[in-house]
Symmetry: C2
Subunit: 308 residues, 2 copies
Amino acid sequence: MSINKTLVFGHINPDTDSIMSSLVMANLENQLGNEAKAVRLGNINKETEYVLNYLNMSAPELVSDVADGQNVILVDHNEKTQTAQNIENAVVKKVIDHHTMNFVAPYQLYYRAEPVGCTATVLYKMYKEYDVPITKNIALMMLSAIVSDTLLFKSPTTTQEDRPIAEKLAKIAEVDLTTYGTALLKAGTDLSDYTPAQVINIDSKLFEKGGKKFKIAQINTADIDGVFKDKVYFEAAINDEIKKENLDLYVFAATDILNSNSKIISLGNDSGIVEKAYGVTLDNNTALLENVVSRKKQMLPKILENLD
Amino acid sequence: MSINKTLVFGHINPDTDSIMSSLVMANLENQLGNEAKAVRLGNINKETEYVLNYLNMSAPELVSDVADGQNVILVDHNEKTQTAQNIENAVVKKVIDHHTMNFVAPYQLYYRAEPVGCTATVLYKMYKEYDVPITKNIALMMLSAIVSDTLLFKSPTTTQEDRPIAEKLAKIAEVDLTTYGTALLKAGTDLSDYTPAQVINIDSKLFEKGGKKFKIAQINTADIDGVFKDKVYFEAAINDEIKKENLDLYVFAATDILNSNSKIISLGNDSGIVEKAYGVTLDNNTALLENVVSRKKQMLPKILENLD
């Protein structure tokens, strides 16, 4: 792949925000005269597939690493553990994000992160700042990302900026926000094509702190009991990963988008951390976390806090 | 000091950009309804004093550390080695910067950095984005920061964005850009009130890489021979610091703003690095670096590159 064209990508195990924000940011760059191309670092999930089908678009090209000297733009992530291989030999020109930060660059770059619910919320503001028109398709992409990241504004990660922007985008995209949003989230709960090993990797993120390595995986569902019928298969797949990647903890959360709870499987030497963190008792490796739907706000901080 | 009001500050050993951008950012926050106050982490230099006198303003309050839980906004820096003490227990709400990055935050925040010549260039764009009026005084503050950081557009750190913005600001501030800019830079070369130990600390920055600690100090001058009359006193002051702070290298650069060269004193166990980096031979600890005026672009990278 040419290193002249800037590659734009979100995190590994891309979610809807990572894919849509790559496409939306690449379009912004191209509109501003900077040649850029969206790519992806992993498989498209069912929710994202719904958006691509709706727009009759194909998915961005799949890549796993970047060439030495390649110009890249990171969206929806900044940490080394969540990005392309060989990133240390690429040149990060820009970062557009809304996550916690752990970022080092020995050169100046454009870095824009805001404490909002979705990368697309930041991108909407950048389109306005640079006075680049938001087409119907671009609006639907941004809208889909916001609906996905905020669980249609039910997640505590939602900020007061996300909803008004989503409402504006729904108008431009000519869709009813609730109808489209509900259909999108529902599409994301379809696990029928996945093996258990694939389900736990639909949206898993690796974190490291003080020598400890752990993963938190999350899926959305409208049928939590249906998901847990496959519990033993998930456990086997999780234990495989723990062994293969030397993890201290693996938390798999099935988030009930109807009732806003999460049922988890916690495995690994540090699996007990979730008991301390949430005041629950693991029953056969599982527990129900009431009112917990956000990995970023309600899972990651609690686990970091209770890690030795 | 109240932890409710957000404190805005630039780096230790503040230069004109650090002081002016603190004031300009605090004003932006206040205009947006967020209570904020500019403070400073060190003495005001002569150049900054010139701006404050011009505006008949007093310097921001001096602080050295921040309280636990204090909300802060960093301008013109992001690295731990260059900020207030106890920063790890404060809450960084925003960062506005134009430097290389080495930043970690276990929470979401507003981070905006651009690869431009001056923090004030970024702030100008933020005023525009938020549609906050730029008053005559605010314009002069931003302008002064840009003139200072770009050495009136002679430094290679100058980007194509800095000059057009400075020109707009000069109009709002009702000053002639070249006349005001030259007077400002000249004011910054007045060392008459300083002891040698103070001169080397007017604008020194500490860097660390792979266990090595080094400082690069810089002053501007229109009389390089006059400065070097005090060479032995500078050397004594530098050696004191090397000992006190366990430094591997101390580079003191007197930058000739008329001829765009820098004459340096290099001391410490790794003083020879500058010979490798610039193909020069140290003569009695000094060397002339032709066409070198920027610490950020022409000194720091060369030293990092040649550090073992």
